[in-house]
């Protein structure tokens, strides 16, 4: 009785999911093992915004880095596009506010915890089709790189990524009014948390909506309405941005050089990609609106990526973030390919061969284990050798915390290495003269030059309202007082 019970538990999917979830946790935790601070500039940026929203207690707040007023969803001189991930900043702010978990812990452990949710979402999409575990396995291999981001970073696209498989699951499996409301809620959230993912979701699901029109047009229209209504509602506010975006579709866009763009197949792995191709074939052979929809969604996404990469037509952000959407779809579909291998039946004519006849009961399991081992043997070293940049070190962090705790509000604008400036604002809450977000600007070069020359230009400090200098190079300026090694404030501040 007890033995049977243990056997049942061992057979249950939940039990088999544990090592897959553990693997996903491990792979995304690799960059954080020896580094306790947020890694990516977008993580520091998000931290600064979350902290600012909490300080202001409002969605109308002062932009944390330079001090311009942000009028919430109604836009600012930065352009509305800059704030299309405000929901993500708000959500992590709420997490910090309610749980009381320190920011450094959130940014170190929550990417891995959140990735577990994404893997589970991949699992439930495949589960009802019979390839849940396989889909979970390939979803957990989604890589992280500095250029295209990934689940090891706590950035808006990763918060939003969870909702692509969730919406697919709801659209595929439910036909009630409630399910359309859920799709509507998820799409609204995506528009607030990471608008380009909302567009990515539409690209992924449109083929399904079109294919399902034939069999169940009411369901198709309801899904389409739930997806598109959230885009229509804020149109009066985002009309200008929408027109500009649509216009940009017809103009050739340059590929941005500063974003390191790996090829999807190379980073995701050749074997998983091969299983994805197999998965597409399996789904197409199986037929049905779900399977056709899933495979066509991936193909449409890939087509969008290829058009931008090859012909430079499209919206750049959709291309750069599209890697993530593509890989989550590839993960689920590769699961279908692995399922085919697991369920593969040797044709009877081959069973005449003694070796195959003897091993026919074990051949599927052996092939499956061999493939999984091969995938892991190529993926894990790849993930371990991926390099990430570090924005600050322990010395910088301690100095920034000291500034936050010891320097008053009258000193509220600093100049420092522009590369570290985003982290500086996130930790101290003080403004900066210049910071590098994507690539160095003129002001970044000016800041670097000022520091390299020993911070001598007092006129520049006064003109720019700079009151704090953080420099690892010694400052030789009588108008500056050194409060602590590397930390200076402007003398006679009135």
């Amino acid at each position: 009785m007890l033995g049977q019970h243990i056997k049942n538990i061992a057979k249950a999917d939940c039990f088999k999911l544990i090592p897959i979830l553990a693997l996903g946790f491990y792979l995304t935790f690799i960059p954080h093992v020896e580094y306790q601070y947020p890694l990516h500039v977008d993580e520091w940026s998000q931290l600064a915004y979350s902290e600012t929203i909490l300080q202001a207690g409002d969605m109308q707040f002062t932009e944390p880095f330079h001090g311009e007023v942000v009028e919430g969803l109604t836009g600012s001189e930065y352009g509305l596009g800059y704030y299309l991930s405000i929901g993500s900043h708000l959500f992590w702010g709420i997490v910090h506010q309610i749980t009381g978990i320190p920011w450094l812990i959130i940014y170190r452990y929550f990417p891995s915890l959140f990735f577990i949710l994404i893997i589970l979402a991949g699992y439930i999409v495949g589960r009802r089709q019979g390839f849940g575990l396989e889909a979970a396995f390939f979803t957990c291999l989604i890589p992280t790189t500095v250029g295209v981001l990934g689940p090891a970073f706590l950035v808006p696209v990763i918060l939003a990524l969870l909702f692509i498989p969730l919406v697919l699951f709801v659209a595929f499996n439910f036909r009630t009014v409630w399910s359309y409301i859920v799709i509507f809620i998820f799409t609204c959230f995506l528009l607030l948390a990471h608008a380009s993912t909302a567009v990515g979701l539409v690209i992924a699901i449109v083929p399904y909506v079109l294919i399902a029109l034939k069999g169940n047009w009411k369901h198709s229209l309801a899904v389409a309405a739930a997806l598109f209504l959230p885009f229509v509602a804020p149109l009066p506010w985002i009309f200008r941005l929408s027109v500009t975006t649509v216009q940009s579709l017809f103009e050739s866009q340059p590929l941005v050089e500063y974003v390191v763009l790996p090829s999807i197949i190379e980073v995701y792995g050749y074997l998983p990609a091969a299983f994805c191709i197999l998965g597409v074939i399996v789904l197409m052979k199986r037929g049905g609106s779900h399977n056709y929809g899933l495979a066509s969604g991936l193909l449409l996404m890939l087509a969008m990526m290829v058009v931008f990469y090859q012909f430079h037509y499209g919206v750049p952000i959709m291309f750069y973030r599209g890697f993530m959407y593509t890989m989550v779809l590839m993960g689920v579909i590769a699961g279908a390919g692995l399922m085919w291998l697991k369920d593969f039946v040797i044709p009877p004519r081959f069973l005449r061969w003694p070796v195959l006849a003897w091993s026919k009961n074990y051949i599927n399991v052996t092939l499956l284990l061999l493939c999984v081992a091969l995938v892991l043997a190529t993926t894990i070293p790849n993930r371990l050798s991926t390099s990430y940049y570090y924005m600050i070190d322990d010395r910088d962090y301690e100095a920034f915390v000291w500034i936050k705790e010891n320097i008053g509000e009258e000193y509220n604008k600093a100049i420092l290495d522009p590369w570290k400036a985003t982290a500086f604002t996130a930790i101290t809450g003080k403004k900066v003269y210049s910071r590098i977000q994507r690539y160095p600007k003129d002001t970044d070069k000016k800041a670097t030059e000022f520091l390299r020359e020993g911070c001598k230009d007092t006129e520049f400090l006064r003109e720019s309202d700079i009151t704090i200098v953080y420099s690892l190079v010694d400052c030789n300026n009588p108008d500056l007082i050194e409060l602590r090694p590397h930390i200076y404030v402007v003398k006679n501040l009135e």
Binding site: D13, C14, I53, L54, A56, G57, D58, M59, G72, L73, G87, L90, F91, G93, I94, V95, Q97, I98, T99, G100, I101, L117, L120, A121, Y123, I124, R127, L159, L162, F163, L166, F169, V170, F174, W178, S179, I181, V182, I185, F186, C188, F189, L192, A193
Partner: protein, 108 residues
Amino acid sequence: MIKQIIDSALPFIDQVPFLRAILGFILVFFLPGFTWTLIFFRRVVLIERVVLSFGLSIALVTLTVCVINLLFDIKITGLNTFLTIIAITAIPVVPYCVMRFVVNSEKS
């Protein structure tokens, strides 16, 4: 009244940060979505309900806090957010109980 209760409970919870982290995590990431899944989804297995609960919690908490701040100018403070989450969690419980009662009485 509610503020007094929370003010008296907060020092205790603050003294046990681990407890606050666990309770807060459940409150933000799971509970609101879970109660809504009881209304939205009838025929789902446990793991599907759990994953949907996480997704719905994240979406509902963020959207509600954002909407009440923008429309009613209610500040995003710890207390307001906490009460908002409690409200989102509680709202579907009543219709769910009514639905259960109706189903049970029909059966009997």
